[in-house]
Amino acid sequence: MSGDFVDQIFIRAKQLLLSLLPGAPDWLLEIASSVINIAALLGAFLTLFALISVLERKILARIQNRYGPNRVGPYGLLQPVADGIKMLIKEDIVPMRADKLLHFLAPIMIAATAILALGVIPYGRNMTPFAIDGGILFFFAVGSTTELAVFMAGWGSNNKFSMLGAMRAIAQMISYELPLIITTLPVVMVVGSLSPDSIVAAQSNYSLGLVPHWFVLTPWGAAAFMLFFVSGLVESNRTPFDVPEGESEIVAGHMTEYSGFKYATFFMAEYFGMFAVSGLAVTLFLGGWHAPISALQIIPSYVWFFAKLSALLFVYIWIRGTLPRTRIDQIMNFAWKFMLPMAFTCIIAAAVWHYEGRRLAGWLWSFGLIAVVHFGLSRLLDTGKKFAPRTYRFAE
Amino acid sequence: MTPTLTSFLAVSAALFCTGLLAALSRRHAIFILIGIELMLAAANLNFVAFWRFGPEPQQITGVMVAIFSIAIAAAEAAVGLALVIAVYRHYRTTSVDKLDQLKG
């Protein structure tokens, strides 16, 4: 029982707060409940954002064999406070011939859509801020409005670099939205529902108390998870896919003409997008808030969720520190020629697995199908470039 | 005073006529397409309103027609905008007043 108490501690706190309004009409209680949900969500994720912004720099630094920020506070952990103060006191410069309304609205829209997407993810047992029937569809509907906001940022700045960066960003995001959505289809198909709560509940059993029934441990689930994760990397414009904001090429892309607090809002929106996509990956493939072993269920559900989320964010940062940037045409090729056929194969493999009643034959057939298609695609798309030692020509 | 079917139909009629206004009175081809999209949206609202207020809510024909209409409107917008781009490339203008000859 004590395990249940710690697990549901936030729910009990919210009910305590709501009971302070006695005799209130139903609609007022609903609004108060929503406000408490939103406040808790924003508080948790703003703290996580501050923490990740300093941890990312420290992890990147360690990968690059140096210390990260370590002057402000113990081990540099108060760096976000310094960053926040700097961003707030910077002068807000708006170009003279910029479209003022678009220039102002763009960062707000990007941040708003990212925060909206965070609202449908289950963070623990009974802890989904807004549990709607078509939660996954809501997530993608809100995510697809990000492209419009990026365009508004690029256009409103009245700057060729911004426009070019915005076009590249939109092309990249639209191309990778397809694999992102199609790789969630196997999960939705197998579970039979679009609601994230049902999807998490469908991953709740354990075989022999040791092996959880997470979808990432099935052949189609593993392939779909990797495709989803890579698409999430691209959607958040992270290295190696940060062509829209590559500092060495295009200044800062669609964010060039923004300074101070608006730039911080763009930055925050990018990280919130990362959190949202990672949260959805945890929900769909990694079992949501379930523990990996049946015996470890005494640890509260939200601890497991944030542990898995942190693991995925660490992989994001690790990839950023390790891989170089890819070219825009390589990115497009990859999306349309490799990821889309693989995503369709995942759907068929999941259907085969489910149709065989999840017996051994189903596992083998789905694994074989994915392996054959992957092998075939990699043979077909091989450019045949042989790597030879570089020869240098120096000026005589 | 809860909204009745009449109020939904009135809003839908107003939306339709705004779309008609955009389609009939602007010169830029994209404005005309915007007007067409508005008219389609008004028709969708009508379908779903009639389903909601109708006698048999288990028969979700209205909702299905609205979903298919949204898909078809997207396809039509794509082809229409491709046409606008192709015409612009050839004639260097998007004003439909100037597109008055069959000769290329």
Partner: protein, 160 residues
């Protein structure tokens, strides 16, 4: 069904539609169209068809609006304002509106209140799509493929 919500959403939608039809600058008109689409999605939520509302946001705001702004970008001339406004179009639109409103208000059987219906689940839409509406689904798939190929061919550079 709340009257306050209905009034607010209808004001938002109609204002957005009017702005989309009458604003001189094309980009502002396109973005008012986005506001109109969001208002339409809110209407669908109010009417209890949440799936249609989500599909509306997804397809219209996420795809059609992006297409429109891209086309505005690619067909730009130096002067972005659309100078002409044909007033006869406004007359016709007002005439049609008057006719429609007269027909709607003359039919007393339309003044009914919303009955209580069981909520429409996505599962029910899926069932209907796979049983009664499977032929329209396949036809829409074919149509979308044809539109995709057609649009691609239309914007290809002509070989000179």
């Amino acid at each position: 069904m709340s009257a306050v919500a209905f009034v607010l959403i209808s004001i938002l939608t109609l204002a957005g539609a009017l702005a989309a039809a009458t604003l001189p600058r094309l980009i502002h008109a396109a973005l008012s169209l986005v506001v109109t689409f969001l208002g339409m999605a809110a209407f669908f939520f109010l009417l209890g068809a949440e799936f249609v509302g989500l599909v509306q946001v997804f397809v219209y705001v996420g795809a059609v609006a992006v297409l429109i702004v891209f086309t505005i970008l690619l067909t730009r001339r130096d002067i972005e304002k659309d100078r002409g406004f044909n007033w006869s179009g406004a007359v016709i639109a007002i005439a049609v509106f008057t006719g429609l409103i007269w027909a709607i208000l003359r039919t007393p059987t339309l003044a009914m209140v919303a009955p209580q219906i069981p909520p429409l689940t996505v599962r029910r839409i899926g069932e209907v799509l796979m049983t009664g509406f499977v032929w329209p689904l396949q036809c829409v798939g074919l149509l979308l493929t044809a539109a995709l190929i057609g649009a691609l061919i239309l914007v290809r550079e002509e070989k000179r």
